[in-house]
């Protein structure tokens, strides 16, 4: 189901930056309100949002937020841990935003976004911003709008942005290319040593948390994860800490926050860490470029002559030949300068 909405992007941008304030509303609340509306624009119309993000009122702002991803199995306790980590970070005087992604229905687009219910402690704290997002068909554990949302939220100066992914299995590792620190939340019985040998997000996290340690003995899980982790931390490489937590008994939380800070220091202090950050930024540029290209590609494909489509359908022509022709032609046009900048 879709509804139409109107927005004045100039006012919205100047409200986000705080240059103008909604009438009868506190200045900070006004900025938060505008941010919320802008995030909806981002989720629903990424093209308009791309232009909006370049608005002069926003371009003068910058973000220095530390982005922490929390990913893991459904029910591992990501939301509850997020809630507790928000509390710890607030005690350290840090402002925190949370982006909580939950799955959308592929049939209707509808969703029940239920992560926020675990974060009731912080609803009225003006230095905590919580936003739920539907995954809207994206399969990487986050939504397409997540990157842009981090950017926008960061413009309000939050110190930390916690991104809680959809409950994931093994291969949904997009968060690794988004977050500065990715935390994988597991449970004492999440699997044996063979599970932990598998490729995917299990090999990529920066911090491992075995949560719900009050429910069963985590020792085997912890020692297997630590063996994996120590094998990764050769030389100056980061050795991902493996932590035991219990959200119910509030254990291991200080260690968790400490690990997040240590990882930030590592990225800052070591050339290896800075190289990782640089690679992540390059990935972000590439992802955005692919997003722009995808729309151009769809336009090109819509213009392929029926005869050619029919030939592919009849098995007479490989789809790769058509694709290659389209690419060659488009590339030639770009080189001749026929596609103008900002043609969108």
């Amino acid at each position: 189901m879709l509804v139409r909405r109107s927005l004045d992007l100039n006012s919205l941008a100047s409200q986000i930056s705080g240059d103008t304030v909604l009438e009868g509303v506190e200045p900070w609340a006004s900025r938060v309100r505008a941010l919320s509306k802008a995030l909806s624009l981002l989720e629903n119309d990424p093209w308009l949002a791309t232009r909006f993000l370049q608005h002069p009122a926003l371009a003068k702002l910058s973000t220095n937020a530390r982005v922490v991803g929390l990913t893991g199995l459904p029910g591992a306790g990501k939301s509850t841990l997020t809630n507790l980590i928000v509390g710890r970070l607030r005690k350290l005087g840090k402002s925190v935003a949370v982006l909580a992604v939950d799955p959308s229905s592929t049939d209707t687009g509808g969703a029940v976004l239920g992560d926020r219910i675990r974060m009731q402690d912080h609803f009225c704290d003006p230095q905590v911003y919580i936003r739920s997002m539907g995954s809207r068909g994206a399969l990487g554990g986050v939504s397409r709008a997540t990157r842009g949302a981090i950017r926008l939220i960061g413009l309000l100066g939050y110190d930390y942005i916690l991104v809680e992914t959809v409950g994931i299995g093994q291969s949904e590792s997009e968060i690794v290319s988004i977050a500065d620190t990715t935390t994988l939340v597991l449970m004492p019985n999440s699997g044996d040593d063979i599970q932990l040998m598998k490729a995917g997000v299990l090999q990529m996290a920066d911090v491992y948390v075995v949560n719900k340690c009050d429910l069963s003995n985590p020792q085997r899980m912890l020692s297997e994860l630590r063996a994996n982790s120590e094998a990764r931390g050769r030389g100056n490489e980061w050795t991902p800490p493996v932590l035991a937590t219990s959200a119910a008994e509030q254990q291991g939380l200080d260690e968790f926050v400490d690990a997040l800070q240590k990882h930030a220091e590592y990225e800052h202090d070591h050339p290896e860490g800075r190289a990782i950050k640089r690679k992540r930024v390059q990935t972000e540029i590439a992802t955005n470029l692919l997003f722009i290209l995808e729309r151009e590609v769809q336009k090109m494909v819509a213009q392929v002559p029926d005869a050619e489509v029919n030939a592919v359908q009849a098995g007479q022509l490989p789809a790769m030949v058509v694709a290659n022709r389209l690419f060659t032609e488009a590339f030639a046009m770009v080189q001749q300068g026929k596609i103008e900048k900002n043609s969108t």
Partner: protein, 142 residues
């Protein structure tokens, strides 16, 4: 590059977002969850705050989530007090444009005052879920 951008008033299509909330001291959330699931199945993104929320909690959540409508469920009898306070709290956070509907055990005699206080629709026991979804859809499109 930015100088060539022409942006001002725009319109766009969005998936509607709804906040379902339970203000005050009332733990009976079966109705709220039932409505939440029906709105999900109608293609909306539904955020549920859980039970025992203050009007300020609910308004903060509604604004941060940029919902298009807020639904309040209350079976304790405190609707005359709490529903208008949610409307006021929304206003003070810049959410005066967010409509609020209510549901629960609400006597007919209270309808007029609640409407005056800014509650756009009221659903009571026996309301058909299809009718609830249709009416909310209508409010969202208006």
């Amino acid at each position: 590059m930015t100088s060539t951008l022409k942006i001002g008033d725009v319109t766009f299509s969005k998936i509607p977002r709804v906040l379902i909330a339970k203000p005050g001291l009332d733990g009976h959330d079966r109705g709220a969850k039932y409505v939440a699931k029906a709105l999900r199945d109608a293609g909306m993104e539904v955020i549920y705050t859980g039970i025992r929320q203050t009007p300020e909690d609910i308004a903060a959540a509604a604004v941060q989530e940029d919902v298009d409508i807020v639904g309040l469920s209350l079976l304790s009898g405190a609707h005359n007090e709490l529903f208008p306070r949610v409307v006021q709290a929304l206003k003070s956070r810049g959410g005066a444009d967010i409509p609020v509907f209510g549901g629960g055990i609400i006597p007919d005699a209270d309808f007029a005052d609640l409407k005056r206080a800014g509650i756009c629709a009221i659903f009571t026991p026996g309301a058909r879920i299809d009718d609830i979804v249709r009416e909310i859809h209508g409010i969202l499109e208006s």
